[in-house]
Subunit: 217 residues, 2 copies
DNA sequence: GTCTATATGTTGATAGAC
DNA sequence: GTCTATCAACATATAGAC
């Protein structure tokens, strides 16, 4: 066991969505898809993607269901936007780690660090990503993109093991799974406002525990 | 990122449920709730609890929806049975670790070992447990039981830190979350028949990486 | 761009015959 | 203990007025 996931709190706007800023002629103000997406993703993470109805999502934005459909054509399209944002960020971070000079172990440590940072900075979107199962076409395509990232991470581990910069007694793929399983688990308990540890403390902790384990300093 | 979850394969019986062993007078054979539960939980894990309809569950057992309702009164009752099985196993394992003589670090290592073993041995049930969100009363009660277990595990870490048997430079609660986040992540990729590593290899790996990290031996 | 109203299907759960 | 038939509630999505 680890930390028990609590329920994320939906941002303030949804509670008083009816009191949202209004444009001319009493009409609700217009929002970009990006702005709406943030409100929607909060509902996904609170209720679960499957359990969140389009009515729930519309209510969170302060729109009626129909107006909501004017901005998004389907629930799956919204999922696509959310996971793409997370996947793009993770891919970009991995690109940077891979391009780093120095030892293979340095690149691996950097990947652990950057991945943890993305997890924290893009928490709601990464959370949606990590919960995708594979029931629909969009979900399966999402899993495929994730697998490619996982394979690249496993490659970094293997490279470091081959250079004997890290231990070589455990299958690199298993090492990679366990390490990034630890990193990903941060999404289950990290909440921005909390005193569960600052961003800096969490990032340092994942890197240091990955490298040194529980050994006394 | 870590390992991308694949879709669990529903056991053979569900595919040819119509060809299941039959009792007298052409009627399907009777199954105990325990037997049925195994078939059901496989569907929960493939489709997700929310997405799995009672029709899906009934089909997996080879029963009609109505006959199915003769065995289980509601979907939530089934969830309760599944998570209880996982929680009971985890609690019992933790009891044993806590009762162990020796150092606090020994007890912690034992808890990591035993928790990993339960994860593997009770994989389908633990998987259901780890995905519970908190939308209904049963789910919230489940999260509460999980929290109690998490708190006990964090207690083991703190005890070892206070005895200076493990590093003391990171908040024990964060250490506990990361460690058991790593352990729990096994459920995302371990599949019984696979060559992703034997039970023994996985258990040794979680314990050893927790204790030593990536350091070369 | 928003709204009310509604089409169309699926959901969890039940009634009652055999 | 199984079945067929059915329910009310709710799902995603659309039509058309303003």
């Amino acid at each position: 066991m680890g930390h028990t996931p609590g329920m994320a709190t939906v941002p303030a706007r949804s509670a008083d969505a009816a009191a949202a800023p209004r444009g001319v002629r009493g009409r609700p103000a217009r929002y970009s898809r990006e702005e709406l997406l943030g409100l929607i993703v909060a509902v996904f993470n609170e209720r679960g993607y499957e359990a969140a109805s389009m009515a729930d999502l519309a209510a969170a934005t302060g729109l009626t269901k129909s107006s909501f459909y004017h901005h998004f054509t389907s629930k799956e399209e919204i999922l696509q936007m959310a996971v793409d944002r997370a996947l793009d960020a993770l891919s970009a971070a991995l690109d940077e780690s891979t391009a780093l000079p120095g030892t293979a172990a340095d690149r691996l440590a950097d990947a652990i660090r950057r991945t943890t940072e993305i997890l924290i900075d893009e928490l709601p979107f990464v959370t949606v990503l990590l919960r995708v199962r594979g029931n629909t076409a969009v979900e399966r395509q999402t899993l495929e993109r994730r697998r490619r990232i996982d394979a690249r991470l496993a490659g970094l581990v293997e490279e470091a093991a081959r250079a004997q910069e890290i231990r070589g007694d455990i299958d690199p793929r298993m090492v990679s799974r366990l390490l990034f399983g630890m990193v990903n688990s941060v999404h289950e308990w990290y909440r921005p406002g909390n005193r569960t540890g600052s961003r800096r403390a969490i990032v340092d902790a994942t890197v240091s525990i990955a490298l040194n384990g529980l050994r006394p300093r």
